[in-house]
């Protein structure tokens, strides 16, 4: 094979590193971009550069933001006393889409996992304790909303244990049946957990 454009080859190589893009898709994207106007491609390149340049982490909750503190942490209409602890900033986005939760967040940036060499000190647990100790924040309730896998459970357990020393309420989101499904399609584990954490009607 002979390559007539080194630049095209380089673009394909870079694109192929993106998640979910194999070499074939990368090729398609690169060729598509070649056919676009200069302006269109500059816009895309600029968006990518800005993405990296202007997005930072909120110094309070740890989510991604263009302004520090983020728009949620600086919104005075939100309930200051309630903090929802999540694993990653994507989870903030997902919970926000529901429009149900009116408190604020705390993003851990991962879960405890010895196999990946992540210990309690490697995720933002200390920052959570600082926030609780901070009287200006006046936190009264911490809601744990971590994934129900082994690592999420271990992390919830660890945080719960640390927080017992503080005079705040600690809750966790319920385990249960997803809406819009039928009981017969629910796996046993979910169903038995849903029974254990049933609520009064």
């Amino acid at each position: 094979m002979q390559i007539t454009s080194e630049a095209l080859e380089r673009a394909i190589e870079e694109l192929a590193k993106l998640p979910g893009t194999g070499r074939k898709s990368a090729q398609r994207i690169a060729i598509h971009l070649l056919k676009q106007t200069d302006e269109h491609v500059s816009k895309l390149a600029d968006a990518l550069i800005q993405l990296k340049k202007s997005v930072t982490r909120c110094s309070v909750c740890g989510t991604i933001t263009d302004t520090d503190p983020c728009s949620i942490c600086s919104n005075h209409k939100r309930m200051n006393g309630v903090v929802c602890v999540v694993e990653e900033f994507q989870d903030v986005y997902i919970i926000e889409k529901t429009n149900e939760f009116r408190g604020r967040y705390h993003v851990l940036g991962g879960t405890i996992s010895p196999l990946e060499n992540i210990g309690p000190d490697d995720i933002r647990i200390k920052e959570l304790l600082d926030r609780i100790a901070d009287e200006d924040e006046s936190i009264e309730e911490v809601i744990l909303a971590l994934n129900p896998d082994a690592e999420g459970e271990a992390t919830s357990y660890y945080i719960n244990k640390l927080l017992k020393n503080y005079e705040i309420e600690i809750t966790r989101i319920a385990y249960g049946i997803p809406m819009g499904t039928e009981l017969e399609f629910i796996d046993e584990a979910t169903l038995s957990r849903a029974f254990a954490s049933r609520t009064s009607f």
Binding site: I112, S113, P114, L115, N117, G119, P120, D149, A150, E151, E153, A154, T155, Y157, Y158, K161, D187, E188, A189, S192
Partner: protein, 376 residues
């Protein structure tokens, strides 16, 4: 449950094979190396996501090819008709599709099509180490309880995390303990669920075992089994859990020193007895073979009572080493099992042609060089 049609592409020596099966007995005869076992191994793939012969998928692809494909049409009591496919390629690995939609986890397939395999490898069950018996038990229970399988997978994960901590942690022991705690809680919870389920299943299973052993051998030697885990009694979940928590506590220093999890169902053992003698150490070769056969026949009839769908039975080359009387006993037991059965055999001698001629229930196939054709 039954499989009506099987299609193979580049699966071992089957370049392209398509077979329609009979609802009851399917017999495959032909010379060694013709591809008989490969056929029923392909069925096993569609039930358990893996081979019962080869240890790795990559050896299963046809010699020059980098992929294989298995397709089967199934018919059951609850789902009247569905299709299961398994594809493997060296680049993308293995994927399972049910009615053409991919499963998120391979393990979601297990239990959908219950299967029991009898093969010459079974003698390891009684003669080799406890890992063989644990894996028999796990595979048997996983097919009737999806929760059990999930607990097993979760337990393995927790144990890995915990072992890593035990191996790498360098600080003071009291700190190690507080780091272990979030994992200990889950270890005890999940481990208890596994132990309790194993004890429950074995309690029922041993009755089936006694009946099958006696009907195969015609002897009055009573086969029994003893489940050995972390406690002496397995009557209640709470009791096991309490014992588990205590033992994690009292073995902390030992675990820290050995740098691994030593309390739990991953060290369980099932001891088999014939009368008073312990089979593993004192049984003869013949006793081992018949006992392991009884284990599998017991699994078949246990499933038949426990599940809505009758299991698919696969018998790989087991008739070769048996005398005619035992063959008759097994064939009779299989006729009692009204589900679908697949038998491979190098020899045609043990089988009665009259059962297959003109029958819609049974088919006799001959296999040669990866080509399958029906005999009559």
């Amino acid at each position: 449950m039954r499989i009506n049609r099987l299609k193979l592409q580049f699966f071992r020596n089957h370049e392209e094979t398509e077979v329609q099966f009979a609802p009851h007995l399917n017999l495959f005869t032909g010379p060694n190396g013709a591809g008989k076992t490969n056929l029923i191994d392909a069925i096993h793939y569609l039930c358990m996501t893996r081979s019962f012969v080869a240890s790795s998928d990559q050896y299963v692809a046809h010699h020059d090819e980098k992929y294989f494909m298995i397709d089967g049409d199934f018919e059951g009591e609850i789902r009247s008709s569905f299709k299961v496919s398994c594809s493997y390629s060296r680049g993308e690995g293995k994927k399972i599709f049910v009615n053409d939609s991919p499963l998120d986890r391979l393990s979601d397939l297990i239990g959908m099509i219950p299967v029991v395999v009898l093969s010459p490898e079974d003698r390891k069950l009684t003669s080799e180490g406890p890992a063989e018996r644990r894996s028999f038990l796990d595979s048997m229970i996983s097919q009737i309880s999806p929760k059990y399988l999930r607990d097993l997978i979760k337990f393995r994960k927790i144990r890995k995390q915990r072992n890593k901590l035990l191996q790498e942690y360098q600080g003071p022991l009291s700190m190690l303990k507080s780091y272990l705690e979030p994992w200990d809680v889950q270890l005890a919870q999940t481990g208890t669920a596994i132990i309790f389920k194993r004890a429950q299943v074995l309690e029922k299973f041993k009755e089936y075992l006694a009946i099958q052993y006696q009907s195969i051998t015609g002897l009055n030697l009573e086969p029994t089994l003893r489940y050995e885990s972390i406690c002496d009694k397995y009557d209640s979940h709470e009791q096991i859990h309490e014992e588990y928590v205590n033992q994690i506590e009292s073995n902390f220093e030992k675990e820290a020193e050995r740098e691994q999890t030593i309390i739990g169902p991953h060290r369980d053992e099932v001891v088999f007895y014939l009368g008073d003698i312990e089979l593993r150490n004192y049984g003869s070769q013949g006793q081992h073979r018949l006992f392991s056969m009884a284990l599998k026949m017991a699994q078949l009839f246990y499933y038949s009572d426990e599940l809505d769908d009758l299991p698919i039975m696969l018998l790989d080359d087991v008739f070769g080493n048996l005398d005619q009387q035992k063959i008759d006993v097994i064939t009779e037991a299989l006729t009692k099992h009204s589900g679908q059965t697949f038998i491979t055999s190098a020899s045609e001698r043990p089988f009665d042609q009259e059962m297959f001629k003109g029958s819609e229930q049974n088919v006799w196939f001959t296999v040669e060089n990866g080509t399958v054709s029906s005999k009559f």
